[in-house]
Subunit: 113 residues, 2 copies
């Protein structure tokens, strides 16, 4: 088990983390908005409409849980965002090497869905 | 209090009622679909998206409750649909006169929201 609960974050690292976190969030949200606009544009009956509603309910719940900016879980959050393609490892440049190694290892190992 | 719980519906009345009910439902659903498509087309940020989600949640709940085809409540359902403009009294032609009078009276009297 990778020990990350007690990890310290320097001010520089906090800046890098915040920027990367926000960037991933903006990317995912913009993609979601495009997807919803596309789905909505072809709705022809009530079943489609409720499918869109179910889809939004699920994505809202998922986003609320996923974007958790607590330093105690941030390593896992970044691993997931890397794994899902919302973040590139280059965007975490400036974090301590041991954090980057953990994030990359977790991103490869874990199934986040 | 208008007594309608024990109202009897003839076969002719049932046919009229079913057709009018379905017609109102189709009208309301089509209007809702247009509204959602319009709202979705101008979404620019996540708050708008969650507003659309909240709107859909509310409308789904409302429609589920409103379109209740039980003969014991149909007088009230038609009164509400008339009140909200989804149905015109002419479309209930064929129902017994006492039912039409009750429906029209309720449509004028009640606040359904």
């Amino acid at each position: 088990m990778v020990q990350v609960n007690e990890v310290e974050w320097s001010n520089t690292e906090k800046n890098v983390a915040r920027k990367a976190f926000d960037q991933a969030y903006i990317r995912e949200v913009n993609t979601l908005i495009k997807e919803v606009c596309q789905q909505a544009s072809v709705i022809s009956d009530l079943n489609h409409l409720w499918e869109l509603h179910d889809f939004l309910s699920a994505r809202r719940h998922e986003l609320d849980g996923k974007y958790d900016y607590r330093y105690s879980v941030l390593i896992f959050v970044f691993a997931r965002l890397l794994n899902e393609g919302w973040l590139h490892i280059n965007e975490l440049e400036g974090l301590a090497k041991d954090k980057l190694i953990k994030i990359e290892a977790l991103a490869r190992m874990q199934n986040f869905n």
